[in-house]
């Protein structure tokens, strides 16, 4: 038996262990789940070592780039969380990370989402063919209605309430579409797994 065949058999057995959870929680599932958590955690550490630590930190530091001591110290400070009397030092590193991500997020959401999406909805409501104009009206009215619904500082009564209710209907259409696509996604994952079991493992699928 080659390593590849052995691997497929082991993969299939672990797959069946996970699948057994559908009947009820059982020792096979628990065993497989704990193996998975252990393997994935160990995988991540080894990957970080080879893909980040060695090329981005260790080798430049050994080549004489002494500025790399800064990220080494900042990274090391994170581990002070394990020691109660000096755990406050980890806040320096966390603060730096949170600050950088917040700054990047503000720019990203501002330019990539807010401005671009509003710009993208400034559509011609007349002057084009009837179908395009109708679609543009639906998009414009729909967006405004949904944004009115999200405005909770004013009570949804009267004409404001009517527009807000129309917004809910548009949101329900969005959520329905999302549900339909979610079903498609989940079924695809199952199709892939069954293809592996029937095809790669048992080799009983028609060619």
């Amino acid at each position: 038996m080659s390593y590849q065949t052995l691997g497929i058999w082991i993969g299939a057995l672990f797959t069946l262990c996970i699948l057994s959870f559908l009947y009820k929680d059982n020792p096979f599932y628990k065993f497989a789940e704990h193996v998975f958590v252990g393997i994935s955690a160990g995988y991540g550490v080894a990957l970080q070592y080879h893909n980040v630590f060695l090329p981005n930190l260790w080798r430049p530091l050994m080549a004489g780039n002494l500025l790399m001591i800064i990220p080494l110290i900042m990274g090391g400070l994170l581990f002070t969380r394990f020691f109660a009397n000096i755990s406050w030092l980890s806040r320096w590193s966390i603060g730096m990370l949170i600050g950088i991500y917040s700054g990047i997020a503000i720019i990203g959401f501002g330019s990539g989402d807010l401005v671009s999406q509003i710009h993208g909805n400034l559509l011609p409501l007349w002057g084009t063919d009837l179908f395009t104009a109708l679609n543009n009206w639906i998009l414009t009215v729909g967006l405004i209605a949904c944004l009115v619904y999200f405005f909770f500082s004013k009570e949804h009564k009267g004409s404001f309430g009517v527009v807000a209710r129309m917004g809910i209907y548009f949101l329900m259409i969005s959520f329905g579409a999302s549900f339909g696509y979610t079903v498609m996604s989940r079924m695809s994952l199952l199709i892939g797994r069954f293809y592996y079991l029937y095809g790669d493992w048992l080799n009983i699928l028609p060619q």
């Binding site: 990047i104 990203g108 959401f109 671009s116 696509y181």
Partner: protein, 279 residues
């Protein structure tokens, strides 16, 4: 009738699991081969790559893991097929930790088929932790962000990376995305800043929220889920897992529709009967 409806209403969910298992399994053994057309977002994906001059450099970010392989791995294979046919030079990065070994397999499979050479026709730069920070960092310098490739070779020694500093030296970005970080972050951090053309292949769960990006032109093309993969395979002319899974997809969707219908019918008819008895 009432007893039957009560059984339906309180059906053990494991029976539902059996029906779903059969709905997915049987079409794999007895394929139907229903034809399907190609939607505009998928055509956009295909034609955007097709318009790139042969021999150009393309950045491809494979941001997925085994959990979304059935949807995204066929897209990755098909995209590599299309790019290698056009002799495009592919620079691949991963922002998900479990992505690199899957990319290695895809490259080994398609690269061998087209006699493509590592370092000359493609390079796999591997994974970097950091999500949006990596994207922004690549905007300043890709070699500083990825000093070596996945196998530890310095990028300064890799022919395909010569002259590549940042996004301005690549023709476009092909993003295969399973979630966060993924297409949304690439659009927010890279497309809006550097105005690079981006096409996205994503899971069906994410696809609805990327339609606004497609409509504004921030995405030039969009593949959504296994159906998107199947449509793309049809355009490129290959028979992959995407296409093979379509029959099972059709039958399982009909099964879910039947569940919604039967579940609601049983519930409301039973409710009506109980109300009539109480009156």
């Amino acid at each position: 009738m009432r007893k039957f409806l009560e059984i339906i209403n309180t059906l053990d969910r494991r029976w539902i699991f059996v029906f779903i298992g059969l709905a997915v399994s049987l079409p794999l053994f007895f394929p139907i081969g229903i034809k399907f057309s190609v939607s505009h977002p998928v055509q956009g994906f295909y034609h955007t790559i097709e318009k790139i001059p042969d021999g150009s450099k393309i950045l491809m970010s494979c941001d997925f893991d085994p959990g979304s392989m059935p949807e995204l791995y066929p897209m990755t294979i098909t995209a590599l097929e299309q790019m290698f046919r056009k002799d495009l030079k592919v620079i691949i990065t991963c922002l998900w930790p479990a992505g690199p070994p899957l990319v290695e397999r895809a490259l080994a499979h398609v690269g061998a088929e087209y006699n493509k050479q590592k370092g000359i026709d493609y390079v796999h730069l591997g994974f970097k932790e950091g999500k949006e920070v990596v994207m922004v960092s690549m905007g300043a310098s890709i070699p500083n962000t990825f000093p070596t490739d996945y196998h530890g070779t310095p990028v300064s020694e890799i022919p395909i990376m010569q002259g590549v500093t940042n996004y301005r030296e690549v023709a476009m970005l092909v993003n295969i995305s399973a979630g966060y970080p993924g297409t949304k972050e690439w659009v927010q951090q890279v497309q809006s800043r550097y105005q690079i053309d981006i096409v996205s292949g994503c899971t069906a769960v994410s696809a609805p929220e990327y339609y606004p990006y497609y409509q504004t032109g921030q995405l030039k093309g969009l593949l959504g889920g296994m159906k998107g993969a199947a449509e793309y395979e049809k355009l490129v002319g290959i028979m992959g897992l995407g296409t093979r899974g379509m029959d099972a997809q059709s039958v399982s969707h009909l099964m879910v529709f039947a569940f919604i219908l039967i579940g609601n019918l049983a519930y409301f008819i039973l409710k009506f009967m109980k109300r009539k008895e109480s009156v």
